[in-house]
């Protein structure tokens, strides 16, 4: 099993409810978001001071898109819960683990020594560095909520079901969404094999402007 987020940019309204629902659940320090809603084609004014992008390894970037207007189409991204996660690989103390049953990449901050390896290794900037604590932190797909029969906070709160939870090893979901993102800073073909799947945005069929 490899649990994964399916992000539907054809439905996403960019409302950031998912990002705030994550804060509502975990109360991350001011300035830290585990989930970031990214504006397809217009990322220039977005900055994230809690991680380093691009990562140490150069990857192919997601293809550019033309003609998508400012602040109208989005990809909501947190940890991609990779099949071969770089964070698990690099962590010297085993704070990052990959759950063998669900494929969720978990982070246990109590073990973190703050070396920052994961922050630099992750091609997607999923691990954030908490300057106040001197430790890393990231999305663990609300595994505690899932263990308790609940959906992750972001999935449950999305008002239009633009984030879903899928199992990419389940043949049922084999053809759901695309492996790569478009129009945002995203490492396509990363060796870590990110599990997130994307449904790409579409403009309305007819647009009549003055």
């Amino acid at each position: 099993m490899q649990k994964a987020f399916l992000v539907d940019s054809s439905k996403c309204l960019g409302c950031n409810t998912c990002a705030m629902a994550c804060k509502n659940q975990y109360h991350q320090d001011t300035g830290i978001l585990w989930r970031i809603v990214r504006n397809i084609g217009h990322e220039d004014y977005l900055h994230d001071e809690n991680n380093i992008l691009p990562s140490l390894v150069a990857y192919t970037k997601a293809p550019e898109v033309d003609g998508l207007p400012l602040e109208r189409f989005y990809s909501s991204l947190a940890c991609n819960h990779c099949e071969n996660p770089a964070c698990v690989e690099i962590c010297p103390v085993g704070a990052h683990t990959k759950d063998p049953d669900t494929g969720i990449c978990k982070h246990d901050q109590s073990m973190c020594i703050g070396c920052g390896g994961c922050v630099k290794a992750c091609p997607f900037g999923a691990s954030k560095f908490n300057v106040r604590l001197g430790k890393a932190e990231k999305c663990s797909m609300c595994w505690e909520r899932q263990d308790d029969g609940k959906l992750p906070a972001c999935v449950q709160s999305c008002p239009v079901e633009a984030i879903a939870l899928i199992d990419i090893h389940d043949p049922k979901y084999a053809n759901v969404g695309e492996v790569g993102a478009v129009g945002i800073n995203y490492a396509v073909d990363a060796a870590t094999k990110p599990s997130t799947r994307f449904i790409h945005p579409k403009m309305p069929k007819k647009i009549h402007r003055l």
């Binding site: 054809s10 439905k11 309204l13 960019g14 409302c15 950031n16 409810t17 990002a19 705030m20 629902a21 804060k23 509502n24 659940q25 975990y26 109360h27 991350q28 320090d29 001011t30 300035g31 830290i32 978001l33 220039d44 004014y45 207007p69 400012l70 602040e71 109208r72 189409f73 982070h107 246990d108 901050q109 109590s110 973190c112 703050g114 560095f129 908490n130 300057v131 106040r132 604590l133 001197g134 430790k135 890393a136 932190e137 990231k138 505690e144 308790d148 906070a153 449950q156 709160s157 999305c158 008002p159 239009v160 403009m203 309305p204 069929k205 007819k206 647009i207 009549h208 402007r209 003055l210």
Partner: protein
């Protein structure tokens, strides 16, 4: 890596009883395994607010009381007396288990270090910033003494004014008006800045403002979202629109702005601002000319259709095309598509009626829907809003005047929607004095007899009211300004006394929506923090002090309990409508009113009992009897400024929280690329936006989401940032509003500005 002790202290210094909470976590062993969060006591302990399993929490029912279509039903999770997180109630198919981005920031709002914690007095004078903490007794005694002094000086209490609006729409919050009722005849800032022109329009047409259940929209066959952007303002309705669209239903967005909603529609039509009324009339003409109007429905249910048809003959379609900026083919396509579909529906946004011709636009769209026979139909309707589930007792509001009270003679009576209406059945000798809320500054300055004391509740006057250059003059001319609020906003800056108000998690209340049909109980989930009190507890305390100083000077009960007062709001009508036997059942979750399609029986509450194309009432109020086209206010500067609601705030609430700043850090002005070229602007340039009213500085974002000639800024309050769109908005009235709300609305989208790079 460095630690910042001061930063840690700042985060910690918000007074929550955290020690016990952390002890609980340590005992449970949970503290070790979670990453750092804002509740960490010091750098040695790292913890986030963990999810500990359902059984670890006490849960409570809450509701979001903000001025919002969605009025979410909330479930709150509390541990050791601390609100941990919230979820949308899953019992409500509308809220569907999730609040919006704003609702999800509530925990931070409750525990924000910036909350007003104690009563304070601005001892250095208004605007000085020199505040002193005072006790509740000291605060209320000062206010009570002032009230009594006013009464003695003037022989009445008309010098005491109340301005209260939509900061909290919980039913017990009408107890603020009750407080003013209980001291005598006073002055009220009456009317509504929100939706009055549309309310009047729908009342002229149908005798009521009543809308179909939004959940029905999933079954509509043609949806026109006209000047409404639910992706920002009613995000829970989007799922029904998506569901319809998935079934192949055409979703058309008509809006001058390419909104978030437009980007997800089947078809987007950019219309020239303020020409919507003519577009609707043109569409009606095309439908009638094609013989596709619902003759049977019109004959049976309408009055004045013949006159309307005659008026349509005078509409020149080429003129329609010219004024709206749309081709005739396109107008025909939409008109005939709408007429063919059954049922078809229009949702009219509130922005559309914030124009000098706003009411006439709503009447024209109503007429278009009526012509196609879609009024009174399941999944049809001309949707605007409703108050049909609001039939509570208004116990907190209904306070008698003290015996011998003297007031205003020959005062105009208030409409039923006026948020200052007393509700007295028989006509008393005296009345309260009503001033126009939409001209607050002007009214406060010019009122005779003079206003000397102003009480502000559930409202941020400086953020929401217009002509704010005059507002400072108005506030400084008052003897005493009392503001009850949760944060130090600009209105508090110009107050003498500020009183800390409870959040909905700290009091009992009951909530319904003006859009959907759910009823939610709001339970007290946590003990009030610091010294905060609910609005009605403040009223009780004022009563205590007034009666101590002068016996029988205030009829408000001196002791009350928000739970008992919430219970007093319920009646048989509410119970029958929602199919419950007791309000206590609501602690199991929200309930929905029994299904009812508005006007399905063809009964309208107009004078004729029918849908009135021709309205004598409209004529009485100085409008045309027919829904005729009225041109919009002329430009008085270079660019039209439109100031709609941001998805990250509700008026001046939410955007001030640091959590919201993480997501939406700063304001901006959206400028069309053509206009940007002319003004030589680039993204992130700082510009001065100015007009005859005032000016402000803001960063530019260039986008063709806005048409050339129009610039857009969201109406928001940023903490620690000088940004207020009402610097630029004057108080010019819209056409309608006096009929049902006591005062016309404001043509706030008819504001014009110019830009200059700085």
């Amino acid at each position: 890596m460095s630690y910042s002790k001061t930063k840690v202290d700042a985060i910690l210094n918000n007074g929550v009883s955290r020690r016990g909470f952390l002890k609980g976590l340590l005992a449970s062993g949970a503290i070790a395994s979670f990453p750092g969060g804002a509740l960490a006591r010091n750098e040695a302990i790292n913890t986030k607010i963990p999810y500990l399993g359902k059984k670890s929490y006490e849960t409570f029912r809450n509701a979001c009381p903000r001025n919002c279509y969605d009025t979410c039903s909330i479930k709150s999770f509390v541990k050791d007396g601390v609100l941990q997180f919230i979820e949308g109630a899953q019992e409500s198919t509308f809220t569907n288990g999730g609040c919006c981005v704003k609702g999800n920031s509530y925990v931070r709002r409750v525990y924000s270090p910036n909350r007003i914690k104690y009563p304070m007095m601005q001892v250095g004078g208004k605007g000085s910033g020199t505040w002193k903490r005072i006790s509740w007794d000291e605060a209320m005694e000062t206010i009570a003494k002032k009230m009594l002094a006013l009464k003695k000086e003037d022989g009445n209490l008309l010098g005491a004014a109340l301005t209260k609006y939509s900061g909290n729409f919980g039913i017990t919050h009408y107890g603020v008006e009750g407080m003013f009722n209980s001291i005598g005849y006073t002055t009220r800032l009456a009317g509504t800045p929100c939706w009055p022109a549309g309310i009047d329009a729908q009342n002229f047409d149908m005798g009521n403002m009543w809308t179909n259940d939004p959940e029905e929209m999933k079954d509509s066959k043609y949806i026109i979202l006209w000047g409404v952007n639910p992706a920002a303002t009613s995000i829970h309705t989007m799922k029904y629109i998506y569901e319809a669209k998935k079934r192949g239903v055409k979703v058309v967005v008509i809006d001058p702005i390419f909104t978030e909603t437009a980007s997800k529609a089947s078809e987007y039509i950019q219309v020239k601002v303020g020409s919507d009324g003519l577009l609707a009339l043109g569409m009606a003409k095309i439908i009638v000319d094609a013989g596709m109007h619902d003759k049977k429905w019109l004959k049976k249910n309408s009055k004045g259709y013949a006159e309307f048809e005659k008026y349509l003959k005078t509409i020149d379609l080429n003129e329609v095309s010219k004024v709206t900026g749309l081709s005739l083919d396109l107008i025909s396509d939409i008109a005939l598509g709408f007429a063919k579909a059954d049922p078809a529906t229009v949702w009219i946004g509130y922005g559309i009626q914030r124009h000098s011709n706003g009411g006439s636009i709503v009447r024209a769209i109503d007429a278009l829907v009526a012509v196609t026979g879609n009024i009174g139909k399941y999944a049809g309707g001309s949707r605007y809003g409703h108050l049909s589930t609001w039939g509570f007792n208004y116990h907190a509001l209904s306070m008698p005047k003290p015996e011998g009270s003297v007031g205003y003679e020959n005062a105009k009576t208030m409409g039923e929607f006026g948020h200052g209406a007393g509700g007295d059945a028989e006509k008393p000798k005296y009345n309260d004095r009503y001033l126009n809320i939409n001209k607050t500054a002007r009214e406060l300055i010019n009122a005779t007899p003079k206003v000397k004391l102003l009480w502000v509740a559930c409202k941020n006057v400086f953020a929401q009211d217009f002509n704010r250059q005059q507002m400072i003059k108005a506030f400084t001319s008052l003897d005493m300004v009392v503001v009850a609020d949760q944060f130090f906003n600009e209105t508090v800056k110009w107050a003498d006394i500020v009183l800390p108000v409870a959040t909905q998690f700290e009091e009992y209340d009951v909530n319904v929506s003006y859009w959907h049909y759910w009823l939610s109980l709001n339970e007290q989930a946590i003990k009030p923090l610091y010294e905060v009190k609910s609005d009605i507890e403040i009223a009780a305390l004022l009563s205590k002090h007034m009666n101590r100083l002068e016996k029988d000077s205030c009829t408000y009960p001196q002791h009350l309990d928000t739970k008992k007062w919430t219970a007093k709001e319920f009646n048989k009508g509410i119970y029958d409508m929602f199919g419950i036997k007791s309000w206590k059942e609501l602690s199991n979750g929200p309930v929905k009113a029994k299904d009812k399609v508005p006007y399905a029986d063809g009964k309208f509450t107009t004078p004729s009992g029918k849908y009135e194309f021709y309205s004598e009432q409209a004529k009485e109020y100085g409008h045309t009897a027919l829904p005729e086209y009225l041109p919009v206010r002329e430009a008085y500067d270079k660019f039209r400024l439109t100031t709609p609601h941001s998805r990250f705030s509700l008026h001046s609430q939410f955007q001030n929280l640091d959590w919201m700043e993480d997501i939406n850090p700063e304001p901006c002005i959206y400028v069309n690329p053509t206009d940007a070229r002319v003004k030589r602007l680039h993204n992130n340039d700082l510009v001065a936006v100015f007009n005859k009213q005032g000016n402000l500085k803001v960063k530019v974002r260039i986008t063709d989401n806005v048409p050339s000639g129009t610039v857009l800024m969201f109406e928001q309050w940023y903490n620690n940032k000088i940004y207020n769109v009402n610097e630029l908005v004057d108080d010019t009235s819209s056409d309608m509003g006096s009929f049902k709300t006591g005062a016309p609305g404001v043509a706030l989208h008819d504001t014009y500005v110019n830009l200059r790079k700085v």
